[in-house]
Amino acid sequence: MNYHIYMSNTQRFSYSKYLMLAGILCTSITANAQSLSERAQGILAQHCFGCHGAEKQKGGLRLDNEKDALWGGDSAEASYIPGKSKQSILIQKIIESNPQKRMPAGKPALSAKDIKTLTDWVDQGATWTKVAVQEKSKGPSHWSFISPTKIDAPELPKNFPVINPIDAFIGEKIKAQGLTPMSEADRTTLVRRVYLETIGLPPTPKQTQDFVNDKWPGAYKRLLNRLFKSPHYGERQAQQWLDIARFADTNGYEKDKPRSIWPYRDWVIDAYNNNMPYDQFVIEQLAGDLLPTPSNSQIIATGFHRNTMLNEEGGIDAAEDWFKRSVDRTNTTGAAFLGLTVGCAQCHTHKSDPITRTEYYRLFAFFNNAQEDNYLLPDADIKAKRSHAADLIEKSKDWTVFLAKQNDKAQAEYAKWLSEVTPKASDWIVHPPTSIHSRKDTPLKTLDDHSVLAYGDVPNDDTYTLEFEVGGELSAIRLEVLPHESLHFGGPGRGNLLADGDFLLSGFEAHIVDESGEATPISIASATHDYAAENRSAQKSLDGLSDTGWSINGQVGKAHRAAYQLEKPVRISSTSTLKLVLHQDYIHQHTIGRLRIATTMRDDLAEALKVPAHIETALFNGAKRSDSDQALIERHFYSEHSKELEKWRTRREKIHKEQPSYTSTLVMAKRIPERITHVHNRGEFQSPKQVVDSGVPKVLHDFPEGAEGTRLDLAHWLVSRDNPLLARVTMNRLWQQVFGKGLVVTSEDFGIEGEAPSHPELLDWLAIEFMDSGWDLQYMHRLMLMSSTFRRQSEVTPQILEKDPNNTYLARGPRLRLDAEVIRDLALSTSGLLVPDIGGPSVFPPQPAGANSLAYGTPAWPTSKGDDRYRRGIYTYIKRTAPYPGATVFDAPTREESCLRRQRTNTPLQALTLLNDEVYMEAMRNLAKAIQQMDGNVEEKTNHLYMLMMSRAPESDEIAHIEQFFTTQHEHFSKNDSAARKLLGLKKDEGNEATSEWAAWTALCRVILNTDEVITRS
């Protein structure tokens, strides 16, 4: 039986643009009724479903749907009687005075507001607007799961200012609330408001004047045109997205090491500046790498999901941290693109929204099946320089040989070396493996040169078992560990925790496996190596201990060799195989990335030589050596071993080191082979249950048939026109940015527990307009800014304060404290210090001493010098465990997880920052200097100061206060020269007759910066 009732969304009529007043009333009544029943069911969901829902039915009572609620519990008495709250048990139970009998049991009583909502709801007939979780198969009924429908804007009386449909929707509610809209703000207020909103910088006095004096019609529109073209537009607009993307410059957790991902930040800025269509914006960030022939910028965009934290603490379980990162990716995707708190379903089926735990892990599977990668940004200039350096090194080898041949000492050295090394060279035969196995299921593949390469996830530890058809006698086994471009720091190890590019071979075993599969161990006498880190010789891989072994720390990026000498030669028949077991039992992902096996048979010791394999082969050929072999050996000796040519090698190292490196950025890549995803019981990594495929929640639109279930498919599904959420959620956040809070206040939650939209028709109208425009963000932003709603005065009149203290109905313009970054930018730009460069690596502006003294390892803060000291706030280095205090104090999030809505607080620590922080003092000293040096009296100077900081002229009483303060302080500093010099940071011999005046202006500018008006967008 399908007993849920669709409400207003299906009952809406399509009104013509010039609809009748009756029509307006009709929609608003429907909207109110919907809102009451939604609120009532929200209260039931929050307070009652825990015991009387799908999972538990205490006393047999279930309150999550109409039928069961009316049926009642074990007493079989209806829990409420529609229209009669007094006779309804539900209401009696929640207002019960005896806490022992009151519901919810063992919890505080419901608030008076909630009680009233439920009572009203029952009295008004107790309409159910949505079905509970279990009814989802019958189709969605929660408003946000139903596609938006566009209705034409209502018509309003003439005295309501309507510039575009936004004003009509807003005006309708203002009227219904009995409020009066404020008139348009004056031009000085407006110009400052719109500058701060679009580019995040205040207008200069000239820019203000230009707008104020532009008497031609369309002045405001022209102003917007200018601002939308500014390259600073993208910087300001990117801010909110970077909060959502949790962009930061460090990995988080204990080690909190630096990472390079700023190209992603610049990608976001560019996307906003270029007005990238929003559907493309979503696709590129989620799956840019999977697009056909992706561009650099599309690959960089996938940094979106690389902004997750990474735990590199000693002893971490790498697989568990990957799980946590995938959880973060899933939750962030849900919040950012669907406005849903899918994270709630990580541990159990969502308590209120129709998302099951299985569906959560199907969504999770999209990200579980991705690979993290480090992308080197192609750069023609760097490429040319690097190839030039490589050429130089290669050519100079010829030169070395030439030089060496003129040098008798070098010649003698060579002859000696050759006579020593030649007999040691062995006839190594390289064998391709016939079978490969990893204890941790690490994917391993054989390359053309018979070497074995590990790829995919790096486990904490591993054991490789390899088998070879040797077919002959052997006395020694050689293990080559080889670099590869796919490995961390070039390899040969896979270590990326603690020691990059290293490995630790903790054990080495050899066996003969006969036809029947029976293995007989081969005893190994000793091991040699070409190189080993201190205390980590190849011999240690034979000591039976799991935390000792062979490692090459200090010579990462190069090929190395170990040779295992057998106790006595063994013969392996053609029907048997040689089995090698390589234990890498140490923690920290110290496993081998690429290796190659060879064997030899000789009567004496077969050593691991300090020459690469191909040189050893050339050496072994001895007298039969060809000329080209001879040249190869010479070249190798002179360039790598000759003491006489040490200087040359130093120079070569220098060239090598000084060649520029490519900028790298963290990106996502396709994972091969695919990873299997499980449902995890209670959301715990260690409790995997049944296997699931990637997929999307049933309550939303269908996943396209035939789609493979890649991230790209997910991205296309998200931007589908059928998605009821993406456009709404995005428009709501833009509204939140422009007006201070969203039409749905809980911009992170459009689910059943989220707040209902204050203006549902407007939200739908915006969503559809947005999609119709081709997902054009700037077009929508411009619509909002053009609206009369945005342009209203922001004064809080007694009427508004009383009737609408939170400004939900927007009878007045928004009045908002500026974001942390904008406060910084404002101080720098008004004082002339701002360096407006766009993009590049993050910078380190001054911060108070000791600000990061509590972070692990007490990291240094390398305060930027020169231009980088004065960059915009968006470029400040974000260290997660010790975030920039000047930013967090003004509510900038720490970027540990996605933040969809910043708080706006008002604290004494903010006061201390603005009053005393060196960043602001330096700016105010600079500003004061400019003010002091300009022509004019105090009043004229004050006028300029106000125009800079507040974009308006001061009024006479303000001038009076300021003149009085200035005169007092000027006098004070005239008498206290040293105080003036201290304030200005001047040395004893610096300063002149104007010093005291400059100091007085500094003190004054400091006060003005701290005024509410300056740090507020009014």
């Binding site: 957790y253 308590k351 465990t881 920052t913």
Partner: protein, 474 residues
């Protein structure tokens, strides 16, 4: 339609529609509803009534970062002596995850002697001679366990109830629930006498709550609070005059615009001004009685745990609600003997002195003192040639010891026990969430009712867990 400015200003001035009425209404609201209203007029730190009668009003949490070895301090295991150097049977360890050691490690006995103390007969290591004297005021819990085995997640779990950064810490929850009684100091102060902390700022973060609930680090060197001191060249008089001018301009703006947020800002500046005097005063311990300094082992001007403890006492005297004293470097993967000796020398005397001092001043009865790390340490030895370690102990999340004293705590008792090797809990397991639930309960807060709505969910410090440790409550 334009509103007449004169009228509006007149209204605010003459009719005196101040914050009073509105603010009062907001303050009367219950803690779990008011913070989510969009009104900007609320003072989020105004003192609020607890859910029920509180036994403690404030907390001093001595956080031993790095995780001290319970086996060398509290949990005496004579059997380990017998098995010292022998491998632990594989069956005992098979399902455990450890950070560094192997499953075939040997057991290691504590090098320290243990003795019973006080009327309660609490057994303590010889490394805690000072704590031994106050054991009758202390309740030991030998059966605490956690589900994290790496420092940062475990510390963040202990502080915020979640192993992932981004959730409010205990001090934030307490200030959110009870407000602050400190007139001119933050309600949640963080002190650190050791090196940097693994979990970093997440340990005292307000997570998704407003930043007013963030822990404010007081620093040993320079300004106790960042940016507390006036810039050079701004003296007391100029500062006052500056703030007076600022108040005039802001007040004028308020009269013009009527936004209650402005009045709140005016108040913030006055509070900042008072803080400039009160914070340096409170951190200056040089005026303490020399005998008191001696009792703690504190020396003015030094960065030490003793100074943190004495400062914590001064802060509670001034109404600060929650104080975290961090002391790090308990992470003894190698040479646990030397490590414990060093750390105990730095902390034992001061921690015991704090209890004595609070008691003498009548503050212990409503001040809760908590001592503990983020997990325990293994009965097995950690030796690693690769890392150059020997005779250390690895992370052991399965069982460790914490202690509590003061407000609402029934002292002189030991709760819980572990097996003969100290491997697993055998009696009264106490999860981290149970510790948190109990701390909130002692403060009069119901851990299930103290919720904050975020991302569509009512969040709690104790997530969906937490049982009270009934027997610890007096």
């Amino acid at each position: 339609m334009k509103y007449n400015d004169i009228t509006r200003r007149h209204f605010f001035q003459e009719c005196g529609l101040g914050m009073g009425k509105i603010a009062l209404a907001s303050l009367l609201a219950t803690p779990n509803t008011w913070a989510n209203t969009q009104s900007t007029i609320v003072n989020p730190l105004a003192p609020r009534k607890p859910h029920f009668k509180a036994k403690a009003k404030r907390v001093i949490y001595l956080f031993m970062a790095g995780a001290p070895s319970q086996l060398d301090l509290f949990d005496h295991k004579p059997v380990l002596k017998k098995f010292d150097g022998t491998a632990v049977p594989e069956s005992i360890l098979k399902d455990q995850r450890y950070a560094f050691i192997n499953h075939n490690s040997s057991m290691m006995a504590s090098p320290f002697k243990f003795k019973k103390h006080g009327e309660s007969g609490a057994e303590l290591s010889e490394m805690l001679p000072h704590l031994s004297k106050v054991v009758d005021d202390v309740a030991f819990i030998k059966s605490v366990y956690t589900d994290q085995f790496n420092h940062a997640p475990a510390q963040i779990l202990m502080n915020s109830g979640s192993p992932r950064p981004g959730h409010p810490s205990m001090g934030s929850w307490v200030n959110y629930g009870l407000g602050s009684e400190a007139e001119d100091l933050p309600g949640f102060v963080v002190l650190n006498s050791g090196g940097g902390i693994s979990g970093g700022a997440s340990n005292w973060s307000c997570g998704f709550m407003p930043t007013v609930y963030q822990g404010v680090p007081f620093r040993g060197k320079g300004d106790p609070i960042l940016n507390l001191t006036n810039p050079n060249g701004i003296d007391e008089n100029l500062q006052r005059e500056s703030l007076d001018l600022l108040a005039k301009l802001n007040k004028r703006q308020y009269e013009d615009v009527g936004d209650p947020e402005i009045e709140s800002r005016i108040n913030s500046y006055e509070l900042a001004y008072r803080m400039q005097t009160s914070a340096p005063e409170v951190v200056d311990i040089s005026n303490e009685d020399p005998k008191t300094l001696e009792m703690y082992g504190a020396k003015p001007g030094e960065k030490s745990f003793a100074n943190s403890c004495i400062l914590a006492r001064r802060l509670v005297e001034r109404g600060v609600r929650f104080i975290n004293c961090y002391h790090s470097s308990w992470d003894h993967h190698s040479n646990v003997e030397g490590g414990i000796k060093g750390k105990c020398k730095e902390t034992d005397q001061a921690a015991a002195a704090l209890i004595t001092d609070l008691k003498e001043r009548g503050l212990l009865e409503d001040t809760l003192v908590v001592w503990g790390g983020e997990f325990g340490r293994t009965p097995m030895v950690e030796t690693s040639a690769a890392l150059g370690r020997s005779r250390g102990r690895d992370h052991h999340p399965q069982a460790f010891t914490m202690w509590m004293a003061g407000g609402g705590i029934k002292g002189g008792q030991t709760i819980g026990a572990t097996d003969e090797l100290g491997m697993q809990i055998t009696e009264r397991p106490v999860h981290v969430h149970d510790i948190q639930a109990t701390i909130l309960d002692l403060l009069g807060l119901d851990h299930e009712a103290l919720t904050y709505r975020f991302k569509g969910r009512e969040f709690r410090l104790t997530d969906v867990h937490g049982e009270l440790i009934d027997e610890i409550i007096s």
